[in-house]
């Protein structure tokens, strides 16, 4: 088991290195390098001659090592991330990208994990409920609803929620985490309430698809388990149905859900991203989108790396927890 976990860790490190290469390529693909952007930035600011601008750009090139071969540049970039948490410099924000990402990452994680856990629990409970009532009205309704939810563009749900909130309910709880009066306050219960009022649409939208998926997987698994012989045995020895479900069926139907967590996580991040961009909630999503539009390459590349890293970690956690929870799986 320990061997398996160590092996998974080593693979994850290699995956991260690969992910870093692709993120780096994305940074390098647009024509010109970082110093070219700097040139444009200085020219736009004015007050310098063409030659001065050129010299300043060259100095920056030498300083950042942009005149060195790609491989060295890549290794330097990775070294900065790993040792100092530095992802490069953003002109739009005039700060290091690492700091920018850091403060938003916490909120993104809170929202994605909230959406993830809520959708897992809701999905599992609805799945258990309808599996016991196969082909009933509630089963069919839930299945159709799950299907429709997976087919509706999330950015449109976000638009509808924004429309309803702002123009029908006259609530202006979008485009920020807090109402102005709470923005600088220390954390309190009222502030948490205010926070929830602002971010629930993002959690809701990101979670919807997850509920639909978990529900279908749980329903299918539980139906499979319920037709197993040990369930029949449990029933025939006179165990009440609730106990059969709780003690015998559900624990055995849960494993695929755990194995599935790794694949659901990216889905949550994407949902969070889509909703946050449309609603303007300042998490990583809008930052990523703005950086793409304004060609702020170090933000785009850094965020791409962060997103992929989160997925790698998510998969790692899912694999390890499956190894811990499912005694049927042997690792040698």
């Amino acid at each position: 088991m320990v061997n398996y976990i160590i092996r998974r860790l080593v693979i994850s490190v290699f995956l991260l290195l690969g992910v870093g290469i692709v993120s780096w390529v994305v940074i390098q693909l647009p024509p010109g390098d970082f110093a070219t952007t700097y040139e444009a930035f200085l020219t736009a600011q004015g007050g310098m001659t063409q030659q001065q601008v050129q010299e300043a750009a060259d100095r920056l090139r030498a300083q950042l090592g942009l005149d060195q071969p790609q491989v060295i540049q890549y290794l330097n970039w990775m070294k900065g991330i790993v040792t100092q948490g530095k992802f490069g410099y953003s002109f739009a924000y005039r700060r290091d990208v690492g700091e920018l990402i850091g403060e938003r990452l916490i909120y993104t994680m809170i929202l994605a994990i909230a959406a993830h856990s809520i959708s897992t629990f809701v999905g599992i409970f609805i799945g258990i409920y309808i599996a016991q009532r196969k082909y009933s009205l509630s089963d069919n309704a839930a299945s159709v609803l799950a299907f429709v939810l997976a087919s509706v563009p999330r950015f449109w749900i976000a638009l509808v929620i924004a429309y309803l909130m702002v123009f029908i309910l006259n609530q202006h709880h979008i485009t920020s985490f807090f109402s102005p009066q709470y923005a600088l306050e220390p954390w309190s219960l009222a502030k948490v309430g205010d926070f929830i009022q602002h971010v629930w649409p993002v959690v809701f939208i990101a979670g919807l698809g997850g509920v639909a998926r978990n529900l279908r997987v749980m329903r299918g698994n539980l139906l499979d388990v319920l037709s197993a012989q040990y369930v029949t045995t449990a029933r025939s020895k006179g165990l009440e149905e609730g106990k059969v479900i709780r003690r015998h069926a559900v624990p055995n139907a849960l494993h695929p859900i755990i194995a599935y967590q790794g694949t659901v996580l990216p889905y949550m991040f994407q949902g969070e991203m889509e909703a946050a961009i449309v609603l303007g909630i300042p998490t990583l999503g809008p930052l990523f989108y703005e950086s793409l539009v304004s060609q702020d390459i170090y933000i785009s590349g850094g965020l791409l790396f962060i997103y992929a890293a989160l997925i790698v970690f998510g998969n790692l956690i899912a694999d390890v927890s499956l190894a811990l929870f499912d005694p049927r799986i042997r690792y040698n």
Binding site: P153, F155, L159, V160, E274, L292, V293, Q295, A308, N315
Partner: protein
């Protein structure tokens, strides 16, 4: 060797040749249903799958004959007709009289002098009857046959915009029909590329095994650990805006294909791996069939139904992604038009609040995604017709 020789000796038929029995056998085997007939039979039984297929068919027809369905020229912008709300098609007029022929009321515009925002109101004094198969603006059917026939239109002076108009006064219904051309072909083209990549790698991985298999599987794991949406967005944003529309279209399709092929690769590999050891493949090998023959005649056809299922489920995923990217302005670029691009005005909260119908192209997206999803679900149940339900 002796024993095998005796086994291979032709044995005397125990019963004399029965012509009638042989003929019944022949005619029965002619009536025997092929694999795809069986799949079709099962597919047909699922109502949802049929509804899905019809939805997709309807969207394709609307897209191909968009000029016929659009009452207004697709290439013209009429700025004075900006932000007209969807017309209400009526049978009963303000006095409560019933009209057999549907009609619309006249639309009148008032401009807010402070903000210059147009507000349209219905004037119940004037009615315009809706006519079907009317002659209108000129176009070419499929780009070949000149015609000026349109499905519907109103009498001279009236306006009919089933889904309203956008900032440029373009009829959103007609434009949505036309946008289906790009949205649907983009999704299908992207899916086709991803199916090709997935099939080739899947067959290679499953059939040849060994090192190639290991390498391909590691690569699949690597590709899978990329978040689809962010990478799609990053790559789409890099595509230079100065390229011509066709190049942008092709490159976008490739970008979407880039991350969508892994599910299919896994599925094809699994099937090929399972069939590689089956009797019919071993028999073909013993008879000296080449790898090419075994792969294309025996192995790949057996994975086709599963390929078809994943294909139908990849298309809606690409439709959704393309819509979101185009909605953000980093996907399809004007003059090409897609459903997401048509909804771009809705990104502005003020526009959205005043003219909520700018979101209406979403109904085409939902119809397309639902249609393909229903179809894919039906196909999944039908793909294995030998299993009992």
């Amino acid at each position: 060797m002796d024993s095998t020789d005796t086994i291979l000796q032709p044995q005397e038929p125990k019963t004399p040749f029965d012509k009638v029995a042989a003929e019944t056998l022949l005619s029965e085997s002619a009536q025997h249903e092929s694999y795809f007939q069986l799949v079709w039979r099962r597919f047909r039984r699922s109502k949802a799958a049929i509804v899905g297929a019809l939805l997709v068919l309807a969207l394709v027809i609307l897209a191909v004959f968009a000029d016929f369905f659009s009452p207004y020229p697709l290439r013209e912008a009429k700025l004075q007709d900006a932000f007209i709300p969807p017309s209400t098609v009526r049978f009963v007029d303000a006095e409560g009289n019933f009209h057999l022929r549907p009609f619309v009321y006249a639309e009148e515009v008032t401009i807010n002098l402070k903000t210059f925002e147009p507000t349209w109101t219905e004037n119940t004094d004037t009615t315009y009857a809706i006519r079907f198969f009317v002659k209108g603006w000129e176009y070419k059917i499929l780009g070949l046959i000149p015609s000026n026939l349109h499905l519907f239109g109103v009498e001279e002076g009236g306006l009919i915009h089933l889904m309203g108009t956008d900032k440029f006064g373009r009829d959103l219904f007609g434009k949505s029909c036309e946008a289906g051309r790009i949205s649907l072909t983009m999704a299908m083209f992207g899916t086709l590329i991803s199916v090709t990549i997935g099939s080739v790698l899947g067959v290679a991985s499953g059939y040849y095994g060994g090192r190639a298999d290991t390498a391909i599987q590691r690569f699949v794991e690597f590709v899978n650990c990329f978040p689809q949406l962010p990478l799609w967005m990053a790559l789409a944003a890099i595509v230079p805006r100065t390229w011509d529309s066709f190049s942008i279209f092709v490159i976008m399709a490739f970008i979407f294909a880039l991350l969508s092929w892994t599910t299919l690769e896994r599925e094809v590999r699994g099937k090929v791996l399972a069939f590689r050891q089956s009797d019919f493949v071993l028999a073909a090998k013993e008879m000296g069939a080449s790898d090419k023959r075994i792969i294309f005649l025996h192995l790949y056809p057996n994975t086709l139904s599963h390929v078809l299922v994943i294909l139908t489920l990849t298309i809606p995923a690409i439709i959704l992604a393309e819509a979101f990217l185009s909605f953000l302005g980093i996907g399809i670029q004007e003059p090409l038009i897609s459903w997401g691009l048509l909804m771009r005005n809705a990104q502005n909260l003020q526009t959205l609040g005043l003219y909520p119908w700018v979101m209406s192209p979403v109904f085409f997206i939902i119809a397309a995604v639902l249609g393909f999803n229903f179809m894919g679900d039906g196909l999944r149940d039908a793909a294995d017709p030998y299993a009992t339900m």
